[in-house]
Amino acid sequence: MRHPFYLGYGLLLLSLCGLAEYRGWSFLSVSEVKNIPKSMRDNPGAYRSSYGYYSRHVGGK
């Protein structure tokens, strides 16, 4: 085997890809929020998103 380190590196990448796919990893940044009360279903407005509230400059060219 001429390039054992490259082979090992490649197999590691392959394994990580397979694991990422199997476990469902994603690059999306989410905030984990714990213990949301069941009453939230009846009053969704009581929940405040951890992403705050949005104010945007109107886009366009």
């Binding site: 001429r2 390039h3 490259y6 082979l7 590196y9 490649g10 197999l11 990448l13 392959l14 990580l16 890809c17 397979g18 990422a20 796919e21 199997y22 476990r23 469902g24 990893w25 994603s26 690059f27 999306l28 940044s29 989410v30 905030s31 984990e32 929020v33 714990k34 213990n35 949301i36 009360p37 069941k38 939230m40 279903r41 969704p44 407005g45 929940y47 998103s49 951890s50 992403y51 509230y53 949005y54 945007r56 109107v58 886009g59 366009g60 060219k61």
Partner: protein, 428 residues
């Protein structure tokens, strides 16, 4: 078959200075150099006639002392001669050392050394074929093509010991080197003859071990003309392995894509009127996700045009009360101007929520828009266990790093090798 006799040594004295001389090469020795006064003597003359008296400006000590014996290529050899030769290029003198090895049954061979680079050299009995390949001559020998490296006038600058030819300090030959690492061919041409030899790059440690030399050899300096590249076979083997790994990556990607469930767990159509005083947020009906923890793809499709919307989203596990909270912006603008039509963004969005465990879930959605904007209709779909190719693309890019790095290093190594040749970029 009788056992070979041990090499015999003949003891004489220098007629010039009286220093004792030792002749190890027996009948093969034509000239012998006095180790004391450095006179070159005729070994065939019973009176050891002085052929050349030489006042050496600099005395060189061989790294392998004369008389050293060792087993080389399975046969015993003795170092009987040592010479320093040099070439002058652009006013700079480059010298190398040559050690003459002798075995009475096998004959002569040489070890050469230049700045810690060693070659094991034998004289050829058949002539290589020299032809032109483009602007550069090549030598062909037993099917192997050697590229021309350098032509220079080599001068003998120092001699010590015995030689099977009429050695003289100041003797000049035209030397041509052709390389096919780890081997090289060298021709030495005088007015009378051309001699070809083949050298093979040899690790110094192997010589030290064979001749049981004390200490450790000096580390090689720079890149020698026939030094084998540490990137054996060049970068092509690395690129071949890259293709194999890429194919394996493709197979893994196809396999994971094929076995992914891609199961729709939520589908709904909604609308949002900005500026409405009602509560904008709502929750979807609960839905169940089964199976192993996996990703969940959220797709939002809107009818936005020259407008934007922001979605506050939370995927809430009804069983545990844990939520994955995130936000997505969708904006789509288009039009035309003097440059033609243009567009920016898009009315849809897809995102993967990472590693969602099995359980009962609902989605909280809170759209937000500019208060003066037009109403928006949109749909939301959630699918679990969706194949994502992004990791495979990243892996393919990461797989590229070693071949690119190796190619780059190999190019640098070869450019350092050829920088010392007649074909260096700066050579005329």
């Amino acid at each position: 078959m009788s056992a070979p006799h041990p090499p015999q040594v003949k003891a004489l004295n220098c007629p010039g200075c009286g220093a004792p001389l030792t002749i190890r090469g027996m009948a093969h020795t034509l000239t012998v150099v006095c180790p004391n006064c450095l006179s070159v003597l005729d070994a065939k003359d019973p009176n050891l006639q002085v052929l050349q008296q030489f006042e050496a400006q600099q005395r060189f000590e061989p790294l392998i002392p004369l008389g050293t014996r060792g087993k080389w290529h399975g046969d015993p050899y003795e170092v009987i001669g040592f010479q320093i030769r040099g070439i002058e290029v652009d006013g700079a003198v480059y010298t190398w050392a040559e050690y003459l090895l002798f075995n009475p049954y096998k004959g002569f061979r040489y070890l050469t050394e230049y700045q810690g680079h060693w070659n094991d050299v034998t004289v050829l009995r058949t002539m290589p074929e020299v032809t032109a390949m483009g602007p550069r001559p090549v030598a062909r020998y037993f099917g192997e093509v050697y590229k021309h490296f350098q032509t220079a006038e080599a001068e003998t600058r120092f001699v010590l010991g015995e030689f099977p030819w009429q050695v003289r300090v100041g003797e000049k030959v035209t030397a041509m080197d052709f390389v096919a690492p780890p081997r090289m061919l060298s021709s030495e041409t005088t007015a009378e003859e051309t001699t070809w030899s083949q050298g093979e790059y040899t690790p110094a440690a192997k010589i030290w071990e064979a001749f049981k030399l004390p200490g450790k050899p000096a580390a090689p300096v720079g890149v020698f003309e026939n030094q084998p590249s540490p990137y054996r076979g060049g970068p092509k083997h690395v690129w071949l392995m890259f293709l194999i790994l890429l194919a394996a990556l493709f197979v893994v990607a196809m396999f994971t894509s094929a076995i992914a469930a891609k199961q729709v767990v939520l589908q709904g159509d909604y609308s949002f009127t900005p500026g409405n005083t009602g509560e904008p947020s709502f929750v979807t009906p609960p839905f169940e996700m089964k199976g192993r923890p996996c990703n969940v793809e959220l797709s939002i499709r809107t009818d936005l045009s020259n407008n934007w919307a922001y979605f506050h989203l939370a995927l809430i596990n009804a069983d545990t009360g844990d939520a994955a909270d995130f936000g997505r912006e969708i904006s789509y603008y288009s039009g035309s101007d003097s440059d033609g039509s243009w567009s920016e963004g898009g009315p849809t969005d897809n995102v993967l929520i990472p590693t969602v465990a099995a359980g009962h879930y609902y989605l909280r959605v809170e759209p937000e828009m500019d208060a003066t904007g037009a109403p928006m209709h949109y749909s939301i779909q959630l699918r679990r266990d969706v194949p994502s190719m992004s990791y495979f693309w990243i892996a393919a890019l990461l797989l590229l790093i070693p071949p690119i790095f190796t190619t780059f290093r190999s190019i640098i190594f070869e450019s350092r090798r050829w920088a010392e040749s007649d074909y260096a970029p700066s050579s005329d």
